[in-house]
């Protein structure tokens, strides 16, 4: 055994999730082990070149986007960066990848690529080292791997997703700029590359992804609802394992870059599906499961709860601004062109107050009322609050899908146009540059949005009732405790229905 238990604990101490891990093993009910069910999948996922092969094409594509955004047409719908990133990528991410493949985007995400390369000084290979014998030499030994760069520990006070919450809300306040101007999108995507690289040089492993990346924050939250997970197969095997390769790394792979303790992982939030733990586990005890929708049901901190508030508020605000008929609201958001500073301030302040104070405040009142109605104060207030905020995960995710659907159906024909003419320079590479703007079944969109919102509400109510039963055990208590929140969830759904159909 290379690494002492103390070393393992030191590694685990840096993880945002290890400190809050439940002692029980992962639930296996309703799971299908995909590595057993799909021939060849284990072989593929355990190849060392797997992630590099996934990132490389995406990296090339994003570099093309950056070039197109910098040198191409300034008209948004004629430039591939706007159409591919904000129409196609966003739709695929929120409607397909997150609900069905958890954080699969993180497998192919190009932003941490250069930073991780600098950290590891390897694209595919592993730098394994015996910590007892291999002291000295360049770089820093963490677990059983050698890393380069400064390898500082991320500040403990920031080991949460508050930075991601504020960063994402801040970014989204200026959405009218980056959704419509290629050069602004270049600035944002370029900044993600630069920040990801700098932080990887300064801090150990995926500090950028865990604590800073604004996309990562909501991916983590909504990945809880996803239908796949990476988990250990048998908790006893992990308990008896002395190698702890998933955490410490070794010759077969790197220690978890996300600073998780994979063998005890019981939620999807901070698992980037890099598959290193599949490679490093000496007992092949880590696997990829297919599981029911909304299988992770516990939020573990106010930072995650506020992420849920922010995401649902943004879905609502964007539905009003970008799908609503009110031109003056678009003018307020469109600060760079209209220069209506008072309007922008009203819009930005409303958005921030609603997301950070008003909506959470309203929710808090509903939870408080429920506890009063339930009568007994058995469960801790924080646990009740976090448990009852969870229903915003399925509701918010489905609300985002309902919002994104008309964007891709109406603007999808631009995808074919920019494929042939990515820079908007008049090229016609595949003969599709002159395809006219053709909305696809726009008049049927409401019939798709209604079931999406209702499914979100159904899962919200189901998971909320589940928590109410767990927290309030006396007869009639769970119903009374969850009643105000369930009415609020239904009211939110009705508000979306009113916006989309009324």
């Amino acid at each position: 055994m290379f690494v002492q238990a103390k070393g393992i604990r030191a590694l685990a101490g840096t993880s945002p999730a290890v400190a809050t891990l439940a002692p029980r093993g992962p639930a296996t009910a309703g799971r299908i082990d995909l590595l057993q069910a799909v021939p060849g999948l284990r072989w593929l996922l355990t190849r060392r070149w797997f992630q590099f092969a996934m990132i490389l094409p995406n990296l090339v594509l994003f570099l093309l986007f950056l070039m197109a955004g910098t040198f191409g047409s300034p008209v948004g719908n004629r430039n591939i960066i706007i159409i591919f990133v904000w129409i196609l990528w966003w739709f695929l991410l929120i409607s397909v990848l997150v609900p069905f493949l958890s954080r699969a985007w993180c497998i192919v995400c190009p932003f941490p690529f250069f930073g991780e390369w600098l950290q590891r000084r390897a694209l595919v290979d592993v730098r394994a080292v015996d910590p007892k014998k291999g002291k000295g030499g360049p770089g820093t030994i963490i677990g059983r791997n050698r890393y380069f760069g400064w390898n500082l520990r991320w500040p403990k006070s920031l080991t949460n997703i508050w930075l991601q919450n504020i960063g994402f809300l801040g970014l989204c306040t200026f959405s009218a700029l980056f959704l419509t101007r290629p050069i602004v999108s270049v600035g944002i995507l370029g900044a993600l590359f630069v920040i990801g690289t700098v932080l990887a040089v300064l801090y150990r492993q995926r500090a950028f992804c865990n604590y800073v990346c604004p996309v990562s924050g909501f991916l983590g939250l909504y990945a809880m609802a996803s239908t796949i997970e990476v988990r250990s197969k048998d908790a006893d095997v992990c308990a008896k394992c002395k190698d702890k390769g998933c955490l410490a790394g070794g010759e077969r792979g790197w220690g978890c870059p996300w600073l998780m303790y994979p063998s005890k992982m019981d939620r999807n939030n901070y698992c980037g599906l890099c598959m290193e733990c599949l490679k490093t586990c000496p007992y092949a005890n880590m696997t990829v499961n297919l599981r029911p929708f909304c299988a992770d049901t516990r939020l573990k901190g106010y930072d995650e709860a506020w992420k849920a508030f922010i995401m649902l508020t943004l879905a609502l605000a964007y539905s009003v601004i970008y799908l609503g008929p009110w031109g003056f609201l678009k003018d307020w958001a469109n600060i760079a062109e209209k220069a209506d500073f008072t309007g922008f301030l009203i819009y930005a302040a409303s958005l921030w107050i609603l997301a950070l104070l008003a909506f959470p405040g309203l929710y808090y009142v509903a939870v408080w009322l429920g506890r009063r109605l339930a009568g007994a104060d058995i469960a801790p207030a924080k646990e009740v609050f976090l448990s009852f905020v969870y229903p915003l995960v399925p509701l918010g995710l489905l609300a985002w899908v309902a919002f994104s659907l008309p964007l891709v159906l109406v603007n999808g024909s631009y995808i074919l146009m920019v494929v042939s003419d990515p820079f908007g320079w008049g090229w016609d590479l595949f003969g599709t540059a002159q395809i006219p703007w053709t909305p696809v079944i726009p008049d049927w969109t409401p019939y798709l949005q209604v079931p999406l919102l209702l499914v979100g509400l159904a899962y919200g109510l189901k998971t909320g009732y589940g928590h109410a039963r767990r927290l309030f055990t006396a007869r009639g208590q769970p119903v009374r405790a969850f009643a105000p929140v369930s009415v609020l969830l239904t009211a939110i759904t009705v508000l979306f229905l009113e916006l989309y159909l009324g």
Partner: protein, 199 residues
């Protein structure tokens, strides 16, 4: 002998429990379905009855990035007359679900009308007249690239009685109340999750 009898007893008890569980699931499903159907139908039925069809005229003013009126409300069967004005640049008026795409040029009282069914040159008219045949909400969008926020320049054309809205609200309320009933009878789908958590 005793062991065999014990095993048989256990199997019978397990079978009884499974049947009870399955029955509970079926009852839960029925309750939820009934609640959804009941409240959905209620929503469908509460939609207002339509008045006699009328002729409705609107002048649509287009400017970056909105229309005035932002929302046009008519009833099914109404005859709709639309005139257009652009206050700044060339705009479009693409009405979802109506095969109507209008090009509005500033300082001009006529507009060009494109219909996918009519190939060739666009029709040039001062006013567009059509009957609102389909109920529901249809967005009108700018179809001529007019500036940065062009893809989001839109308005709402709502044709009453628009029963999809009250029906959907009824379904949402049905979910809520069906959930309450299941919770009160303690046979709801949440039971499964509770068991998962306890496992």
């Amino acid at each position: 002998m005793n062991v065999g009898r014990g095993a048989g007893e256990g199997a019978r008890r397990l079978a009884r429990r499974l049947i009870h569980q399955r029955r509970g699931q079926i009852v839960s499903g029925m309750v939820l379905l009934l609640s959804l159907a009941g409240f959905g139908a209620l929503g469908f039925l509460v939609a207002p009855t339509l008045p006699k069809p009328q002729e409705r005229s609107f002048t649509v003013v287009a400017r970056r990035y909105g229309y005035d009126p932002a929302i046009i409300r008519v009833n099914r069967g109404d005859t709709v007359r639309l005139r257009f004005v652009s206050e700044d640049v060339v705009h479009g008026f693409y009405l979802e679900g109506h095969d109507l795409d209008v090009r509005i040029t500033p300082m001009r009282s006529t507009v060009e009308v494109h219909r996918s069914g009519h190939a060739g040159e666009p029709e040039v008219v001062e006013e567009i007249v059509f009957r609102a045949e389909r109920e529901g909400k249809f967005r009108y969008r700018c179809s001529q690239t007019c500036g940065f926020m062009h893809p989001f320049m839109l308005g709402d054309f709502v044709v009453g009685p628009n029963r999809l809205l009250p029906t959907s609200i009824g379904l949402a309320v049905g979910l809520l109340l069906g959930g309450f009933i299941l919770m009160l009878t303690k046979s709801g789908p949440a039971r499964a999750m509770e068991k998962d958590d306890a496992a």
